[in-house]
């Protein structure tokens, strides 16, 4: 009944909402357009964009010294989450069964667990920093907190369901993941997609101006 609803219709609804929402957000950003740059190009915009998208993964020197903890915690969380999300056996099985129909190699169970540890430590520390540091606290709005807490709850319920033996635990995890998917396109969580565009945009602007940054 409620389990079947979560496992069936709600899953497909949330997936649809997620896909349509993300596409809509990206299209609307792209459609907003770029102001035409009439100056003479001093460099390649495309190359600048590509460089920025990747070079920004390496933090600036000021960041590595002044907010080292955020940097480390940030990487721990994001890399951990990436592994959890796309390379854990249960997730691959689920995605293969429900969406793509094809699977890819999973990481061993112990890598999965280590990734979860890192991810949790990173997320908790980052959220505490967000709440305790006056600057980030003022910068944060409801959206940030809801996003963090949703991700945390999805991860927590996922780890509670690790035994993979109780349907109820799996459904709670799935339900929160569905809420997360529905919430995703309408929040800052979109940065998972839009970081490419923002970096690409600044990179292209810089590249065209011949700025090597």
């Amino acid at each position: 009944m409620i389990g079947e609803f979560i496992d069936g219709p709600l899953w497909y609804f949330s997936l649809t909402a997620f896909v349509i929402g993300v596409v809509w957000r990206i299209v609307s950003i792209v459609r907003a357009g770029v102001r035409p740059d009439l100056s003479i190009a001093r460099g390649s915009a495309g190359r600048g964009a590509m460089r920025a998208i990747f070079s920004r993964f390496v933090p600036e020197r000021t960041v590595t010294t002044s907010s080292r903890l955020q940097l480390i915690a940030g990487y721990m969380f994001h890399v951990g989450l990436l592994i959890l999300l796309f390379f854990a056996q249960p997730h691959i099985d689920f995605i293969a069964e429900r969406i793509t129909g094809l699977s890819w190699p999973a990481v061993p169970h112990w890598v999965f667990i280590v990734a979860a540890e890192f991810s949790f430590a990173g997320l908790i520390l980052l959220w505490l920093h967000r709440v305790l540091n006056p600057v980030t606290r003022l910068l944060s709005d409801m959206d940030d907190h809801i996003g963090s807490i949703l991700v945390f709850l999805v991860m927590l319920t996922g780890c509670l369901a690790l035994a993979q033996s109780h349907e109820a635990l799996r459904l709670i995890h799935l339900f929160l993941a569905e809420v997360f998917l529905i919430y995703f396109p309408f929040s800052k969580l979109m940065h998972a997609f839009t970081f490419v565009m923002s970096r690409g945009y600044t990179g292209a602007t810089m590249g065209r101006k011949g700025v090597n940054a």
Binding site: P108, H109, W110, A163, S165
Partner: protein, 209 residues
């Protein structure tokens, strides 16, 4: 109802491990799980004896006492069973069990214990008798068919006895009395049987010229 027990006669067990194999095959247990094992003590020394050990289906089972989720129950036949739907795989029963009966499937490094598996006296589990679920989780349910555990049924030397405790103790008592009689007849304890002097082999040969 009868009270079901296992009993292994160390004077008869020849460490053939057929009970172990029979159990694995009958119950289709996963890798790494051995519900029954044969232990040989004083291996290669005088007084070597072997015993086949599995869950002893204790009357006051320590595993059931320590289980944090209370998943054990005792059937009317005195068989100690557990519910794998309730088991959380904590391993406490393994620490408490004197015989090392509880087994845990492991899936590699960092794996938490899977759900406990142990000898069911070939009596299945809480699911309906002979259902697919029961077979998948607990293996075969011979008791419901009126059969006894396969390990004992196919023991070639009838060292491993299984069944009604009264009958088993009867069988075993008779064996002991017979062995006592053999001592009387030969004048030598069966315990020293292997060091017994050969009887009148003088002048004997396998080939007569």
């Amino acid at each position: 109802m009868a009270r079901m027990k296992f009993y292994c006669d160390p004077e008869r067990c020849i460490e053939c491990n057929a009970c172990v194999t029979a159990c694995k095959n009958e119950n289709e247990v996963p890798w790494g799980v051995n519900r029954r094992r044969v232990v040989t003590i004083k291996d290669g020394e005088p007084g070597e004896r072997s015993l086949s050990v599995a869950c002893m289906h204790c009357s006051d089972a320590p595993c059931a006492t320590v289980c944090p989720v209370d998943c054990f129950y005792t059937t009317q036949d005195g068989v100690v069973l557990h519910d794998k739907d309730i088991c959380i795989g904590c391993g406490y029963c393994f620490y408490a069990c004197p015989f090392g009966a509880p087994q845990f499937p492991e899936d590699g490094a960092f794996a938490t214990r899977g759900k406990m598996d142990k000898c069911t006296f070939c009596a299945g589990g809480p699911e309906a008798d002979h259902s697919a679920d029961e077979h998948r989780k607990y293996g075969s349910n011979r008791l419901a068919e009126g059969k006894l555990p396969l390990c004992a049924e196919m023991c070639s030397t009838k060292a491993l006895l299984a069944g009604d405790a009264n009958v088993i103790s009867d069988v075993y008592r008779k064996r002991i009395i017979n062995r006592g009689a053999a001592v009387l007849a030969r004048g030598v304890s069966y315990r020293d049987a292997s060091f017994r002097a050969p009887r009148s082999t003088g002048g004997k040969s396998s080939s007569q010229e």
